[in-house]
Amino acid sequence: MAATTKTLTRPSRSWTRQAAEIQERIAALQVELKRILSKTAPPKVRFDPHEAGHELTIRMQEAEGGSWTGAELESRFGLTPATLHRRRKEHRIVHWRDALHQFHYPKWQFTPTGALLCGLQEVLEVFRSQDEWRIMRYFLGPRRQFDGRRALDLLRAGEVGKVLAHAKAHAAENTW
C-alpha cells in the first residue's frame, strides 16, 4: 500500500521519460505544423525587373496626357513626316515606338503652339541617344538631385541651366 501511494505521489523514472517523449512529439508536431502552414501561406510577391519595366513604359506613355502620332502632329502643327524623321535623326524630338514600330511623340514636350519646351532640345543634344525609354525616363522620373522633382518640372519652371548641368554631368559618366 505504501509503495502504491509513493507511485501515485512521486512520478517514477518511466513516467518522466514518457513525459519527455510526449514533449518531444509535441515539439515535432509544432515544427511540422509550421512547415505545413508556411506552404499554404500566400507566396510573397516577387519583383520581376522586366515586368516592372514594361509597366513603367505604359505609365510613361500615358504620362501628362499621352502622346500624338505623326499624323496628329501634322494636322495639329504642320509637322510633316520628313520633318519628324529629321528631328528624330538629329536628336531634336522625344519619341517612342509601339509594337508596330509606329512613332509616338509625348505631348508634354510641346508648347501650345507646337514648339519644343525651352531647354528640351539642348538636353537631347547632350545625350545624342536613340535609347527611347531612357530618354523618356530622364524627363519623367523624379530625381533626388532635383529634390524629388522631374527634369520636366524644372524645364517648365524655367530652370534650364540646372537640368543641362545635371544632364552633362551624368552624360559624361553615362549614368543619366
Binding site: P49, R134, M136, R144, N174
Partner: protein
C-alpha cells in the same frame, strides 16, 4: 561656437599632426574577390580598362595628388549602387530603372585583391582619427583630402575599407596604387560562379578576370530583384 555642418565632413588636420596617429590600430587585413563595374569607352566601343587607378577627383577617395585609387565593391549589388543609385528614384518610379541598352554599355570584372592593409572606416574608427561618418557620406572633395592624409601616413596602408553611402550593410574598398601588389595580371579563374579564391590566390599581386557585359551577368537578375530596379525595354 562652431556649429556642426551635416553633409560636409570636417577638414583633416595637417599631415604632420595626422602622422602622429597610430593608424594601424584602425586597420584590418583584407583579401578576396571584389566587383568592378566599368563603362563603355565611346571612342573605341570597348569597355574601359577594369583596373583604373584614378586621380581624376571624380569619386570619393581619388585625389589628384594621390598615387591613384581603384574603387571596388564587395558585391555586384553594391557596385551597381555606387554607379547608378544617385540617378535612381524611389521604388515604382520610372527613374529606378536601367534600360536594356544600358545593360550592354556597362561591364563587370571580378578583381582579386591579395592581402592588403586597409583603414577600416566603419564603426567608431572615423571618430578615432578625428572625423565622423560624413567621411563616407559627405562631400567628396573633403573626403579626398582625408584620403591624401591616409595615403601619406607613414604606416604605409594600402587603402580604405568603407561602408557604402547607399546601403548601411554593404562596403567597398578604395585601393591606393602601391608597388607591392602590382603589376596586375589576368587570371582566367576569376569567372562565374565566383570562386572562393582565385587560382592565383597564393600570389600577392592584384588580378582580374574577363569583363562581362552587365546584360549577361549571372548575378544581375538577383541584384535587380534585391534592389527593386526595373529593366526598360
Amino acid at each position: 561656437m562652431q556649429r556642426k555642418t551635416p553633409g560636409n565632413p570636417n577638414q583633416p588636420v595637417s599631415q604632420a599632426e595626422f602622422d602622429k596617429l597610430d593608424l594601424k590600430r584602425f586597420c584590418v587585413p583584407v583579401r578576396g574577390i571584389f566587383y568592378r563595374v566599368h563603362g563603355l569607352n565611346p571612342s573605341t566601343g570597348k569597355p574601359f580598362e577594369p583596373l583604373h587607378f584614378s586621380r581624376r577627383k571624380a569619386s570619393r577617395f581619388d585625389p589628384a595628388g594621390g598615387p591613384g585609387t581603384l574603387h571596388l565593391g564587395k558585391s555586384l549589388t553594391v557596385a551597381l549602387m555606387e554607379v547608378f543609385d544617385d540617378s535612381w528614384g524611389p521604388i515604382g518610379s520610372s527613374s529606378r530603372s536601367l534600360s536594356a541598352t544600358q545593360l550592354y554599355e556597362w561591364w563587370v570584372t571580378l578583381v582579386w585583391v591579395p592581402q592588403v592593409m586597409l583603414f577600416d572606416a566603419r564603426g567608431q574608427n572615423p571618430s578615432k582619427i578625428g572625423t565622423d561618418q560624413q567621411l563616407v557620406t559627405g562631400r567628396h572633395s573633403t573626403s579626398r583630402r582625408w584620403a591624401l592624409r591616409l595615403v601619406r601616413h607613414p604606416s604605409g596602408i594600402d587603402g580604405i575599407l568603407y561602408p557604402s553611402r547607399h546601403s548601411s550593410v554593404d562596403w567597398n574598398v578604395a585601393l591606393f596604387r602601391k608597388a607591392n601588389f602590382l603589376p596586375e595580371r589576368f587570371d582566367a579563374s576569376l569567372d562565374y560562379p565566383v570562386p572562393a579564391l582565385a587560382a592565383g590566390a597564393t600570389t600577392d599581386k592584384l588580378a582580374y578576370g574577363s569583363a562581362l557585359q552587365l546584360a549577361r551577368h549571372p548575378q544581375l537578375r538577383d541584384a535587380l530583384v534585391e534592389l527593386e530596379v526595373s529593366i526598360l525595354p
